[in-house]
């Protein structure tokens, strides 16, 4: 794992990715600090972070697009498979390298509140609480990006999908307001997702009966629940969309609450996507 970590870091710092990532983040934090803290003379550094969140849409895919896709393209993944290290170690090594690259600009950012504190009253706990949450949220997005990179051997594709997914996630709360909140609407949307799940199951397992079985069973369950108590479905989809938003939870920190549930949620997302990445890499051995 350490070998993979060191190797990945040397690749990031040899190419421009690590620098571009850090520069992007720092430029936007700088602009944010200028607007909020200097021009508007607000003492809360956390507002800057909430402003900077949007940048993740671009810089996370930028950093993660090559992480596994490139290995596949250059066929170096064969080396990783044949080395006496497990896939989990490979994935963890790569993820820790991503975190390190992300942590370096954060260290610079962590100086801001201290500097501002020299010139006025800055409530440091909320600032640093937000920076910590900012780190964990970024880590969750990096895990997501890494998973997307493991799905393809085309970097551009990985980046494109990454931007789209993170953008959707960013706007999911706004979109949730426009999504039908009626019970029937929710059921229909659920059905669409169930069918998609069925297609996915079929694609992965190549077992049609299993795919049909899973889809039909889930559809039946939603139908029965709907007839028994349709009120359960009211507002379900907007709620799910809000719950899934990584960014929405971050705003709680910005408002000065250190929300452990959100931290736990982020850690779960990280674990989930690391698990999926390992599975996606393992699957290549079984195709």
């Amino acid at each position: 794992m350490i070998a993979v970590l060191r190797h990945e870091l040397s690749i990031y710092f040899r190419s421009f990715t690590a620098y571009v990532f850090g520069a992007f983040l720092l430029v936007f934090v700088g602009i944010g600090a200028m607007i909020y803290n200097l021009q508007q003379a607000v003492a809360n550094f956390e507002y800057v972070l909430s402003f900077v969140c949007m940048v993740f849409v671009v810089i996370v895919p930028l950093l993660t697009m090559r992480v596994i896709a490139e290995e596949k393209k250059q066929k170096t993944d064969q080396l990783l498979y044949s080395l006496p290290i497990t896939t989990l170690q490979v994935v963890m090594g790569k993820f820790l390298a991503l975190l390190t690259v992300y942590l370096i600009p954060l260290c610079v950012i962590a100086v801001y509140p201290l500097v501002f504190a020299q010139f006025g009253d800055v409530y440091l706990p909320t600032s640093y609480g937000s920076i910590a949450a900012f780190f964990v949220m970024g880590a969750a997005l990096l895990a997501l990006g890494m998973f997307l990179s493991s799905l393809t051997e085309n970097q551009g594709f990985a980046a494109g999908i990454g931007v789209a997914v993170i953008l959707l996630n960013y706007y999911s709360v706004t979109l949730a307001e426009y999504v039908s909140s009626t019970a029937l609407g929710s059921v229909i949307v659920l059905w669409v997702f169930i069918i998609l799940l069925g297609v996915l199951v079929k694609h992965i397992t190549r077992n049609e009966n299993l795919a049909y079985g899973v889809s039909l069973a889930l559809m039946a369950v939603t139908c029965v629940t709907y007839y028994l108590d349709s009120s359960k479905f009211e507002g379900l989809i907007p709620e799910i969309m809000t719950k899934l938003s990584l960014f929405e939870r971050f705003y709680t920190f910005v408002n000065g609450v250190f929300d452990l549930t959100a931290i736990f949620y982020y850690l779960t997302v990280i674990g989930f996507f690391l698990f999926l990445t390992v599975q996606s890499l393992e699957k290549r051995r079984y195709n």
């Binding site: 350490i2 070998a3 993979v4 060191r6 190797h7 040397s10 690749i11 040899r14 190419s15 250059q74 066929k75 170096t76 993944d77 064969q78 080396l79 498979y81 044949s82 080395l83 006496p84 290290i85 497990t86 190549r206 051995r285 079984y286 195709n287």
Partner: protein, 383 residues
Amino acid sequence: MITVEHLTKCYGDFLAVDDLSFEIDEGHVYGFLGPNGAGKSTTMNIMTGCLSATAGHVRIDGHDIFDEADKAKKLIGYLPEQPPLYMSETPEEYLRFVGRAKGLKKGELERQVEEVIRQTKLEDVRRRLISKLSKGYKQRVGIAQALLGNPKVIILDEPTVGLDPIQIIEIRDLIRQLGQTHTVILSSHILSEVQAICDQIMIIARGKLVAFDEPQNLEKLLTGSNEIFFTTEASPQETAKILDAMEEIQEWEILKDEDLVEENAGAGKDAFADNAFAETADTAKDHGSETVFDAEDDRMETVGEYKSSQTAVAGQKVEEKEGLEPETVSVRVAIGNADSRGVCRSLFFAFAGSGRALLELSAKKASLEDVFIELTESEVPEE
């Protein structure tokens, strides 16, 4: 050392490796030979843990490649078909990474990296970017990578593909050297290469192991493949009588020369000429020098001369035929593993004894190439 048991791999409906079993001992160079798409790479990928098997086991020194992957993989160095190199690094950096991943610590790591660089003669390019290296050097970096950690077995998938002749010779020499200290398994679809380097040859066709032996034994393997062709002026009846009287000869057949000549003179004769040419070429090859390269050169040289002379001979034959006398009979005799020179002698005296001349007499010995073609092509009709 390596035990492969009932290995099977399906890609969807396509059966790439079909119930493959073999065992590999320590300290030889093994050649894995087969036409493209025979399942060589798939087998190697499974043996090194890069791919899962649909069924069957691979054990390296008793460690299952899947259940005890860590222990098993430490015993193997693998160079896949396309060397897995990071283009943005130098050979030195790359080898350090692989060494670390193989669990080498500081002092040992430096020592081994130096050693493999020396062994694969990478000293001159050690600080150049891998992306700027020639194909031959890239291949060597790939081999150097496989050597790190001092594994007992080195598996090389088509190590000489895409190299120029000088590079090929260099890589072959390197492999020969490695064979003295490691067990080496290399795959190739080039027969001469395998024949030149390997102690043991495995021939694989359509996912099945069709032969596994030393090169010399493989040539013997094809029983009944050694043949003698002769043409005599005796009539078919006389020929049958003479041949039946000979103890050495069990199996023979008269080639339907007349049909060929009469029905479609040109085409038939050409076919015959080609056939005869092939025989002579092969005989030439057997007498030829040790290496296959030379033998093939011989063959090439023979082409022109022989073909023209054959056509001339065949032409004469037709004229003789049209002028009624004398009738000739061409016979093919299968002699198995018997000494072809002895049989030729007896044939000569037997026919001479009955006052009939032998107009042509040639022995054809099975070469490794015949074995290869026979083994890999023979199953086509069955499927």
